[in-house]
């Protein structure tokens, strides 16, 4: 009984802090200076964006640290293809 309550609490807590894919895409799009946020979607191949650079890669890592308290590695950023892939890597590490 007691254990069940604790699990429920954990689940509720996780739902509360969990950002949706849409919110993640929005946060991701904000990292670019010259790209219209409307042009970035969950299925965008982000390495192909003109403004993409290793510096933006660093700001992705910083954003994920701020918003999710998750440590992304270089490989997570380099091996993800779409913004959704990146989101899934973050969720795996939560």
């Amino acid at each position: 009984m007691e254990t069940g309550t604790r699990v429920d609490n954990v689940i509720n807590f996780t739902i509360n802090i969990m950002k949706t894919l849409d919110e993640f895409v929005e946060l991701f799009a904000e990292l670019f200076d010259t790209v219209d946020p409307e042009e970035i979607h969950a299925d965008t191949v982000f390495h192909d964006i003109d403004e993409w650079s290793s510096l933006i890669g660093l700001s992705v890592i910083a954003m994920v640290d701020d918003e999710f308290d998750v440590a992304l590695k270089g490989d997570d950023v380099m091996n993800s293809v779409t913004v959704e892939d990146l989101y899934n890597r973050v969720v795996e590490k939560l």
């Binding site: 290793s54 510096l55 890669g57 660093l58 890592i61 910083a62 640290d65 440590a71 992304l72 590695k73 270089g74 950023v77 380099m78």
Partner: protein, 353 residues
């Protein structure tokens, strides 16, 4: 959590020597446009750094720094009981470098001398070892030398590292002072799963040097390295550096009940401005209490913190006691934070060689 407290040892002085040659990042040849290098300078905060000439080593700079330090302190070199040499840019594979420095300085043959091959966390680790040995009271005068010639261990044809790293040697002079009961407090951390984040793959016994490993290879445009050059995985290091150091400082503050309101200086390893600003902001530390010297000297590994003291906090440290926090972090991956008090220090003018 591994922590440590030492007493009865105080910092007597600090000195530094840098190569006289200045390399301006804006003039580096690698970049497609001025815009690109301007952006790198803005995000890292590093405008220039010092670079040794061929044939000069970290120990050469170190000897100059120590000679200036002991002269300004009015110490006879024969009165020095201990010397720790925190450096990975060693003169030879064998022997360690500190005996060579002992001989060049004319230190006594019955003194305590050894190398500690740490990188960016080196000053804090070095202080913990030096003060632990000296607080017993038999080793009365000590020199903690922290030096690195990064331009020799990184490829000069690597656009990802050349703007960031510089060369410098520093010395922190320590003195046993019975009754000086202001403690130095430390916390430590290590994560060897990140060993590959900053690594020279060839040249040790895991991957001995072979003729092939010494061939320059183009990894990508603007990045040419040999197998024994240090490779920095920028994203992995960044991910580490924005998370571990703030947590380490918070551990220190909590463990030792530190009131950061009364802290005068936060000395951070000079990694890059973006990382250091994040660490500072996460502790809600004001900018004016967090001195930076990376704009002029870049990342000089374990020499970063004492070089910051010499070039950016000299007047403050020459005055009354200052309450200080420090955090070193980097290759290993290894990190450490420290609380100490420093005042009435002899701070030498920057030596150029």
């Amino acid at each position: 959590m591994s922590s440590l407290t030492t007493k009865n040892v105080r910092i007597a002085g600090v000195a530094a020597c840098v190569p006289k040659t200045i390399e301006e990042n804006i003039d580096l040849p690698f970049y497609d446009s001025k815009e690109e290098i301007v952006k790198i300078i803005e995000s890292t905060g590093i405008k220039r750094h010092r670079i040794v000439e061929d044939g000069t080593t970290a120990s050469d700079l170190s000897v100059k720094a120590v000679e200036r330090m002991v002269s300004d302190l009015g110490w006879e070199i024969g009165s020095v009981d201990l010397l720790l040499y925190v450096c990975t840019s060693r003169d030879y594979y064998q022997p360690m470098t500190s005996p060579i420095i002992q001989d060049r300085l004319g230190m006594r043959q019955d003194s305590f001398v050894m190398d500690l091959p740490l990188g960016c966390a080196g000053w804090v680790y070095g202080m913990s070892v030096a003060t632990s040995l000296m607080c017993q009271g038999t080793l009365k005068r000590g020199l903690l030398v922290c030096a690195e010639t990064n331009t020799q261990s990184h490829s000069l044809k690597d656009r990802t590292s050349r703007p960031l790293f510089g060369d410098a040697a520093t010395v922190t002079a320590l003195e046993f002072d019975e009754g000086y009961d202001t403690p130095m407090n430390y916390v430590f951390g290590v994560d060897g799963s990140g060993a590959g984040a900053i690594m020279a793959e060839y040249g040790g016994f895991r991957n001995p040097v072979t003729p092939e490993s010494l061939v320059e290879r183009e990894i990508e445009p603007g990045v040419i390295r040999k197998g024994n050059d240090i490779v920095v995985n920028g994203m992995d290091v960044f991910s580490f550096a924005i998370r571990r150091p703030p947590r380490s400082l918070k551990e220190l503050i909590e463990k030792f009940g530190i009131d950061t309101e009364k802290t005068d200086y936060l000395f951070l390893h000079q990694a890059n401005r973006y990382i250091d600003d994040r660490i500072r902001k996460s502790l809600k530390f004001p900018e004016e209490k967090t001195p930076f010297c990376l704009d002029d000297f870049g990342n000089v590994s374990g020499a970063s913190i004492p070089l910051t003291m010499v070039t950016r906090a000299a007047d403050g440290l020459r005055g009354d006691d200052k309450h200080c926090l420090a955090c070193g972090f980097g290759v290993g991956l290894s990190w450490a934070s420290m609380e100490f008090t420093a005042g009435h220090l002899v701070v030498s003018e920057l030596v150029e060689y």
